[in-house]
Symmetry: C2
Subunit: 407 residues, 2 copies
């Protein structure tokens, strides 16, 4: 027994990143997640990247690992009723809905509570007033594109970081809600707005205070690390390396391996500066960058990395995803995070499990995403107790569907 979230059973009606990631995070800690989708696939079923071999979505396969897939006609009242019944099943660890269809009346808390008074639902939404938004339309509004890149042209983030933050908050909301229901007997709704996650994080990083207390609306500084020492540097073999020296120990180690201790001491005297202060390293960074650049540019990536490791300086190579897969053991089966598994719709892929390593527990096997509708009959039979006649009729009436044959 894995003994973590194995008891939980969650019904997910969602699409895209945040909510699917929330449920997958819990599935990878042992929870049963029953994802319901429109027959033929929901809004995210064809999201790029697609497998060039099967045409199916590598993205969908990535965000639905370890789930059961039920295909339902969500436009039909009988299909909706079926989802409501699934999401309000009895049991301390069932009766949990996760959705990003926050405004849908038929998935409202009120409707769920008619079927189960202590129903739990967690909804991901765009803005706190319920208006729609996606990661991109929030990110632009919280200032990061103005801080990213070398100049004032806004640069979008490629990673949907707010979706990630929002989804992980939703996962936490589910676990906290279930714990509370066990203690108090009360269910309820929790909502997480993408914009709230983003704007809270801007505050958490001190950037609201920076505007309000200092009157500073920060501008872009390219690849420089803000407030301490760090940037990307070239190496003699045409690679780039990120070097960061935030602590005094890291800074001193960097000066030592780069052979610039004397020069830096001289500079400190000449400038009246003290580079053990991280802020002064930042203020004089152009000068210091030039010294490090000279050193890094004279050595290969391997040599630079070995010296930095020896000195306790944090560093990393710039890699494309392809280079990472070719060169970095952390993104391979040498790392127990990963296993190569066969996803029914896209084939064999090196696939991560949960990034949480409970040291005293065996890791759960990494499980692939299902085919759409793969578990329709199983869930109807086991979770809802329908017999084969009733299940057959739901198929005949077009209320549910199994996997597409030969897909």
């Amino acid at each position: 027994m894995y003994d973590l979230l194995d008891r939980l059973s969650i019904v997910e009606a969602s699409a895209f990143v945040a909510a699917p990631l929330a449920a997958m995070t819990l599935a990878q800690l042992g929870a049963e997640v029953i994802r319901v989708d429109m027959i033929g696939g929901g809004l995210d079923y064809n999201r790029w990247p697609l497998s060039k071999e099967t045409g199916r979505s590598l993205y969908w396969a990535g965000l639905n690992k370890g789930k059961k897939s039920v295909a339902v006609n969500l436009r039909d009242p009988r299909g909706r009723e079926l989802v409501q019944t699934l999401a309000t099943r009895p049991g301390d660890d069932a009766g949990i809905l996760l959705t990003n269809f926050a405004g849908l009346p038929w998935l409202s808390q009120e409707v769920l509570e008619e079927k189960r008074a202590d129903a739990i639902s967690v909804a991901v939404k765009g803005s706190p007033d319920g208006s729609p938004a996606v990661d991109y339309t929030i990110n632009c509004a919280v200032g990061y594109p103005h801080l990213t890149g070398p100049d004032t042209t806004p640069v979008n983030n490629v990673l949907p970081a707010w979706d990630v933050g929002c989804g992980l908050h939703a996962a936490l909301a589910i676990v906290a809600s279930v714990d509370r229901r066990k203690r108090t007997g009360r269910g309820g709704r929790a909502e997480v707005a993408l914009s709230d996650v983003a704007m809270a994080m801007v505050g958490n990083m001190g950037q609201i205070g920076e505007v309000q207390r200092n009157g500073v609306d920060r501008g872009p500084i390219g690849n420089d690390l803000y407030g301490a020492f760090g940037r990307d540097f070239g190496t003699s073999d045409g690679r780039r390396v990120m070097i960061s020296a935030i602590t005094v120990k890291q800074w001193k180690g960097l000066c030592r391996v780069a052979g610039i201790e004397q020069t830096v001491a001289g500079l400190e005297s000449a400038l009246g500066a003290d580079f053990t202060d991280e802020g002064q390293r930042f203020e004089w960074r152009k000068v210091l960058f030039a010294l490090i650049e000279k050193w890094s540019g004279a050595h290969t990536l391997d040599a630079v990395g070995a010296a930095l490791t020896e000195a306790g300086v944090t560093w990393g190579p710039y890699q494309t995803v392809g280079q990472m897969l070719a060169d970095d053991w952390r993104a391979s089966e040498k790392n127990p995070l990963f296993q190569t598994v066969t996803h029914p719709e896209v084939g064999d892929v090196l696939t991560p499990g949960s990034p949480i390593d409970f040291r005293s527990l065996e890791r759960l096997p990494v499980t692939p995403a299902p085919a759409l509708g793969q578990h329709t009959d199983q869930v109807l039979a086991e979770a809802l107790g329908l017999d084969s006649g009733a299940i057959g009729k739901l198929h005949d009436d077009g209320i549910v569907a199994g996997p597409v044959q030969g897909a």
Copy 2:
């Protein structure tokens, strides 16, 4: 009674973003978090941005909201013993350590278990083998800088998104570990590596599959939204707006309000294309962008936004943090996420609480970060049951400290 995580008591020994964010996330859901720091402040106590009024860190104030601060001489065996004792206090909901000093022998699980057999500890680390890393030195290694910005020059992320993801996983690990201990009587260690969080997410987004199944190592596409329709567009009043049309409904709404339905239909015939397919919208995006640009550039931001809202298209304005605070109600006290509170070390700042909105519960009041050492005496008395004589002696011996007077 807020009835969520109010019962939990967590000892945090950490610095920077991931671990402090993990504990703060739980504090903002009601948990008691006792953050212990070196007397005079830990590695992150002077991180930028600093308040120009007090010289204190707005960043530290941002990431330690709602915690109790205890200042301890962590280099002294008696100080270390004190932290170990705090972190292994009896009680179902105590005996929990969160740290990012993953390699410190005196905070190892083995040491904690000597004091409490079912101790729980959660450690954030750089790479799975324990080698150090920070957000920047992981981000460069997982491919995103190569995908960000207009060309092949790598562009660093400014948001420490991997820290955020790692911290939220750590928060989840704590809650899951406590739940498991209650059921099974077993404690244990959980570890979350920054690189595992990042590399797992690259896999989750389908990018490992893209390399392995399709042989494609994706390059940069600037501000374009990958795989569907989206980009930033200028408006007649010199603003920029992010427009995203991922679903068919959004795309049709966009064509309607931009007045390009006929043109698009003509284009589809001429090209033999079907723009209800998100992938084809992406493939022909340059043509489609030019049409939308013509429309957006002829109208003000307000007019463009109103039209897009009416059409159900997701959009957002580009804003600096200053503009966000000036113009956006979501980043103001009109949004219950935020309250203006006085942080002892940096003054009044608009401050977020938890982004999770438990609809049936009153929100907890937003609480500021403590002054360093503000709760030293309180915690020693209440949590450890020391009398004033014992506490006085710890002060006299330089093992603990209270807040700096007049700071």
